[in-house]
């Protein structure tokens, strides 16, 4: 029996990697057989070489060599600041919108209209307002991450079973304490969903913000590589953003589970 469960356990651990492995194998086969020419999609070996140079090469030796840590730092600061603003505004706004009908009537119409505007339409305006660089990117990231955080927080706190408030009131919990001990814990699963969606979209808008003339950042590398015709560096940039996006999602989830009982026990 224990043999069986360990086998199933290792199978479960392997399952998330099956699709990436299959994609890699397919890519390898297509490049080896020449089905896809290298100018469209370079060979995986060439990509890993480019990635190695970008991550671990000594700066100045070749274009992009050893630049990763600088780009990474700039990008992570932009994502972190933008996401931070989105959380700081989105959770309170969602909270009041979900609990107070007046607030909801006042702001939900406007927010849902703005939500329909694609991020790229904000880009020219943001550049006029904030110039090229950190501020524009942070603005775009914050704007994009705000909507899923706001919407999920609002719907999460709106759907909390009213009997929990009655129970809290009759147990003598004052309303303000009830927000932190009843309302937010009960809404926690949806708040986490909003944060995860927000962080995911933050990475997408990071690249948009970095497309325009900033000297560093993962998005800047991708745009730069397009100008120079370095398809391999574009692919490296894409893979690195995918990896960082997934890792940050896992870290966010673990952080919430570490901080909040309700995050550990309800999701």
């Amino acid at each position: 029996m224990s043999d069986d469960t360990t086998r199933r356990g290792s199978l479960h651990a392997a399952q998330p990697w099956l699709i990436p492995a299959a994609m890699l194998a397919l890519w390898f086969a297509a490049s080896e057989s020449g089905a896809i020419p290298a100018y469209l999609l370079p060979h995986p070996v060439q990509i890993s070489g480019a990635a190695y140079g970008y991550l671990f090469g000594s700066p100045g030796g070749m274009p992009y060599a050893g630049r990763f840590w600088e780009d990474f730092t700039s990008s992570i600061v932009r994502v972190g600041l933008g996401f931070g603003f989105a959380v700081a505004v989105g959770i309170p706004a969602g909270f009041f919108s979900g609990r107070r009908a007046l607030v909801n009537r006042l702001i939900s119409n406007t927010i849902n209209a703005l939500r329909a505007v694609p991020g790229i339409s904000w880009l020219p305006l943001a550049m006029v307002w904030f110039g090229i660089g950190l501020k524009t990117t942070v603005f775009l990231v914050a704007l994009a991450a705000f909507f899923p955080i706001y919407l999920n927080t609002a719907s999460g706190v709106r759907q909390v079973n009213p009997i929990y408030f009655q129970a809290g009131a009759m147990l003598g919990i004052p309303p303000v304490r009830g927000i932190f001990t009843i309302l937010l814990p009960a809404a926690m699963p949806q708040i986490i969903t909003g944060l995860r969606l927000g962080l995911g979209i933050a990475w997408a808008y990071l690249v948009l913000g970095e497309l325009t003339g900033v000297p560093n950042g993962l998005g800047a590398v991708i745009m730069d590589a397009r100008m120079l015709g370095r398809i391999d560096m574009i692919v490296v940039g894409i893979i690195l953003i995918a990896v960082l996006g997934r890792v940050s999602d896992l870290l966010l989830h673990q952080f919430m589970r570490f901080c909040f009982k309700s995050a550990r026990r309800l999701s």
Partner: protein, 261 residues
Amino acid sequence: MKSRLKLISPAPAAPPRQRILEIRGLSKTFSGAGAFQKVLDGIDVDVVRGEMICILGRSGCGKTTLLNILAGFIPPTAGRLLLDGRPVSRPGPDRCVVFQEDALFPWLTVEENIAFGLRAPQRSLRPEVERFLALVGLTEFRSYLPREISGGMKQRVALARVLILKPAVLLMDEPFAALDAQTREEMQNLLLALWEALNHTILFVTHDVAEAVKMADRILLMDQNPGRIREEIRVGLPRPREKEAGHFLSLCRDLLAKLRG
């Protein structure tokens, strides 16, 4: 076990027939879609300290509304409500409720749910939580989450988390209606044992005639449309009451006839 519990928590040194809750001319009218519906009409009740009162009525007679008003969840349209001589208007731990549905906090363990209403720092409440865990027989399940325990156990937690606050009046809204017959009987016996040990005043809403006869000192029989108290029946049967006894059954038959009639 019973006598030891009494030592820990001596009966309040109050005179035996002291009035604790006074309900005078209580009415409730709901309005909606242009229509008014009188749900409760002129309810008068005096509750004596330590009494177990059952409010018996068919579903829809307004007994849950009455309980919600007593708890302070909704205001009455007219009438007065005095607890220990003072008017009550909002919910509070002096009038605790055990709900029919599961109202435990699903992100808290059994132990944390029981300690939820307590104010003092964690260390000083330990013995209290310990004691109430033992009283409802859940010491071994203290670290379970509500979703991991049965319906009967959930109602034990619901009972413990309010009893620990020592409410002046305990309000119970068909608390055992969703349980199977055997568990319901166990819970009734548990409640009676706790009531005898801790001397609470209990208002117990039910539509189950046998439950009312088993539990109550007094039964208030409610009419519907509008909800009125039609009759008060004093249950003189000695405790513990056997559900198979002749007096028990004949009282049940009488009540059932009145309820239908």
